[in-house]
């Protein structure tokens, strides 16, 4: 197992290197002169051509692109992701400042997604074609089709403006987390629910379940002790993938709820062509996604003793 994890970590480093090369090339290929945008951010819209040139030289944009990349990479190996071109703040500290916000939001959303989806998926499967099953599946369809920004506005309108129970936006106590986490968690829950249901249905048709039934075990014991663990495997796989997707979706939710996370930082940096910050954010998000996939693989071993990584 330890060897497997070590190998995966080495692969992760290669992945991060490739990600950094691709990101660096893409942001330099994108139209829009970074010096102009940065000069505008610094001096306002009435910036002069001299100021733009000055900013360009100061930022080192006059060096060839590959040279710029290797300079940046050299710093990264020393643990320095550079300073934001836009705000002059160290990239690493900016990311650490906002990462807890994003993780808080994403984990809360995923927990909502699982807590809602697993029981409802199991109930739907065990009572297939019942009213509960149909209602759950219609709910899932609505949940997956609703655009996040629309749901966010609706929730704010009802719970903050009309009822006054929860704050409109901002980050603070648990009350601030509820609406953004629900907004982000709804589609995750909807997808998980459908997967959980179909996976459970499939497991319940297996021979060993029939054996369990023949042994006279109660439906409850069959479902929760024998079927659930196997039925969870696809949901766990999905959760690993959803982690990355949820971080992506968090960008919109973070902007709406004034939740200063890494997604919003990334989007703001793209608009401003803040290259060092974009690189830092993408690296950080990639590392999180790769790490979450590794965790999922390790979780497999706990769920299914047949899966072991000794000889990989």
């Amino acid at each position: 197992m330890a060897r497997y994890i070590l190998k995966r970590i080495l692969i992760m480093l290669v992945v991060l290197f490739v990600v950094s090369v691709v990101t660096f090339s893409l942001i330099h290929l994108a139209p829009g002169d970074p010096a102009t945008l940065l000069a505008m951010a610094r001096y306002g819209v009435e910036v002069t051509p001299e100021q733009i040139e000055w900013v360009g030289r100061e930022m080192g944009f006059d060096a060839p692109i590959h040279a710029q990349y290797f300079i940046w990479l050299g710093h990264v190996f020393h643990g320095d992701l550079g300073a934001s071109l836009r705000t002059d703040q160290p990239v690493l500290s900016e990311i650490w400042l906002r990462l807890p916000a994003t993780l808080e939001l994403v984990f809360a959303a995923m927990i909502i997604g699982l807590i809602v989806a697993i029981p409802l998926g199991v109930i739907s499967a065990t009572r297939q074609h019942s009213i509960i099953d149909n209602a759950t599946m219609i709910g899932a369809l609505i949940g997956v089709s609703m655009p996040g920004f629309w749901l966010a506005l609706l929730l704010i309108l009802v719970f903050s403006v009309h009822l006054g129970w929860l704050p409109v936006c901002g980050r603070g106590g648990v009350e601030h987390l509820i609406l953004p986490a629900i907004t982000l968690g709804v589609s995750t829950a909807a997808i998980n629910m459908r997967v959980m249901r179909s996976s459970m249905l499939e497991v319940l048709r297996q021979d060993y379940i029939l054996t369990a039934r023949a042994k006279g075990l109660s439906q409850r014991v069959i479902t929760y002790r024998h079927a659930l663990r196997n039925a969870l495997i696809p949901v766990v796989t999905l959760t690993g993938i959803q982690f990355g997707i949820t971080i992506g979706m968090a960008v919109i939710i973070e902007t709406i709820f004034a939740w200063e996370g890494i997604g919003k930082l990334l989007v703001d940096s793209i608009y401003a062509r803040d290259f060092t910050m974009i690189q830092g954010c993408v690296l950080c998000i990639s590392a999180l996604v790769v790490l979450s996939n590794l965790l999922v693989d390790i979780l497999y071993a706990y769920l299914d003793p047949q899966i072991r990584y000794e000889n990989v």
Partner: protein, 518 residues
């Protein structure tokens, strides 16, 4: 199952503690709580873009909140005229190359340091640092005596006072100190910086010793809410008291709803010093717009009344670069291009554009009149206007393809002159059209430059006004801009905010907020 939950919880805790642990090392995270809201003289304003970090350079870039902390020597009154502020009076000498300001006595910076000629000189000089060049033709600043300061200009430049009247660079007066040349965030204004929590809010408290009188508000909290729709909802929920100040624009569709609600007061102003004018410009160096008749035809073909309906309360179309309510608007420009599709067709026919194949699109030499109009999505009016203009020009046989760009790409299109038609903001009028000082000005003309030079430096005020009038005529007659509109500054406040008086200027809009109270 228990193991699964346990493993998930461990994973959550490990990642969360990683983040938390490193945050402590790299940068202490701010306490993620909002300031307690007490029922006193406290005003919460929602801001769209918060300051990224507090730095000396940011002194002049606070998106219109500068005027609460800093003041300038002169200011702009409600009619758009220059009036003294920190200076008691001023003299313009030597045909406009010397400006002498007589400062008011007894004014103190909010930390108690005296405001005098030396402070003015240091404040100006420190602002020059970290800038490649001065935006003003100032040769030197000299403290003649304790309360008299002299600015010597390289050449006569009459818009000098206008530029000194804004509470941002270069007019901002910042408190000097011996260690660091200036003490950032200490000014003479009605409020003082109190607290700044990154990414969340910052607060100002009243300057107890404000020289103009008693400040009635104890505290102003600026809360960062980037989404304009959420800003309005926060106002409705009572979490903020005011929205729409500075760059935090209120969506135009929210205005009628706020107006109908007796809880709120909506203020709508046009600014007089730097009118918020935007326009559609055509590439007049390239066919088909090289021909002035084509440009004029487009101006006649656009029905401004329909555009106004689409703009709603957010903006209104205007005749030229200076709106009719601004001082020094040239009345000759008024109604220069009335809506007249017949005349538009006539002008296009004169220019050789005819629908020879009967497909409804004009053509010339076998080439159809097909052009692209570029806009970007972050300015909501641009996409609305683009669709109306597309439909209107179709009626006279011009086929417009709309192309939506991202902001950086949009700027590059303007910089490289890669467009047929494009939206763009006008910025500061005399600087924008004067080709020797402007950045990204989209109309250059030698006669226009001459008129601007006359306006900048003619010693006789009448000659300057005549030149200013002439600049407007040249721009409108040449029709490089086929549609102009002026954005309103919209500000909505809870009705509990009393005595709010807006100054119709772009940077000093809420200058008089110190007179307001809850």
């Amino acid at each position: 199952m228990r193991k699964v939950i346990l493993a998930s919880m461990i994973a959550v805790c490990v990642i969360a503690s990683l983040g938390a642990g490193c945050a402590k090392e790299e940068a202490p995270a701010p306490t993620p709580t909002l300031p307690p809201k007490e029922a006193k003289q406290e005003l919460t304003i929602a801001v769209g873009a918060a300051i990224a970090a507090l730095r000396v350079e940011d002194v002049w870039s606070h998106h219109g909140y500068n005027c609460l902390v800093y003041e300038s020597l002169v200011t702009v009154d409600n009619n758009g005229n220059i009036e003294p502020l920190l200076a008691e009076s001023y003299e313009v000498l030597k045909d406009g190359t010397e400006y002498i300001f007589h400062l008011r006595k007894g004014i103190k910076f909010s930390d108690g340091a005296p405001f005098n000629a030396e402070a003015v000189k240091t404040s100006f000089e420190c602002m020059l640092e970290d800038r490649p060049e001065s935006p003003l033709p100032v040769q030197s600043v000299e403290a003649i005596d304790e309360y008299t300061v002299k600015y010597t200009l390289i050449f006569p430049y009459f818009p000098f006072l206008d530029e000194m009247a804004r509470a941002f660079w270069p007019g901002t007066m910042v408190r000097p100190s011996p260690e660091a040349k200036v003490t950032p965030y200490v000014g003479t204004g009605p409020f003082m910086f109190e607290e700044y929590v990154r990414l969340q809010y910052y607060t100002l408290v009243k300057n107890e010793n404000y020289w103009q009188g008693e400040v009635r508000l104890d505290k102003i909290i600026f809360r960062e809410i980037p989404d304009p729709h959420i800003m309005v909802l926060a106002l409705e929920a009572g979490e903020v008291d005011m929205v729409g100040v500075g760059f935090g624009r209120i969506p135009s569709e929210a205005i009628p709803l706020l107006r109908d609600n007796p809880q709120f007061v909506v203020h709508r102003v046009t600014v007089l010093d730097i009118p918020a004018v935007q326009y559609i410009v055509v590439n007049y160096e390239k066919e088909p717009f090289k021909d002035i008749r084509v440009r004029k035809a487009i101006r006649h073909a656009i029905n401004r009344e329909e555009v106004d309906i689409v703009l709603g309360e957010a903006a209104r179309t205007v005749d030229g670069p200076i709106p009719d309510d601004c001082p020094d608007f040239n009345p000759k420009v008024n109604g220069f291009y009335p809506y007249d599709p017949g005349k538009a067709r006539e002008l296009l026919a004169d220019a050789g554009w005819k629908d020879s194949d009967g497909d409804g699109i004009l053509d010339k030499g076998g080439k159809p009149f097909r052009v692209t109009l570029k806009f970007q999505a972050q300015t909501p009016e641009w996409s609305k206007i683009a669709k109306v203009v597309q439909a209107q020009l179709k009626k006279v046989g011009i086929d417009i393809k709309l192309q939506q760009l991202e902001w950086g790409t949009h700027i590059e299109a303007v910089q490289s002159y890669d467009f047929d038609m494009i939206f763009w903001p006008q910025m500061v009028y005399p600087m924008f059209y004067y080709s020797k000082r402007a950045w990204l000005n989209l109309f250059k003309d030698e006669e226009l430059d001459r008129q601007f030079e006359q306006y900048f430096s003619a010693p006789v005020p009448e000659a300057r006004l005549a030149a200013y009038y002439k600049t407007q005529e040249i721009i409108v007659e040449n029709a490089p801009m086929v549609l102009y509109y002026e954005q309103y500054h919209l500000l909505a406040a809870n009705k509990k905010v009393q005595g709010l008086e807006l100054n119709p200027t772009s940077w000093n809009l809420i200058q008089h907020i110190w007179k307001a109270h809850i």
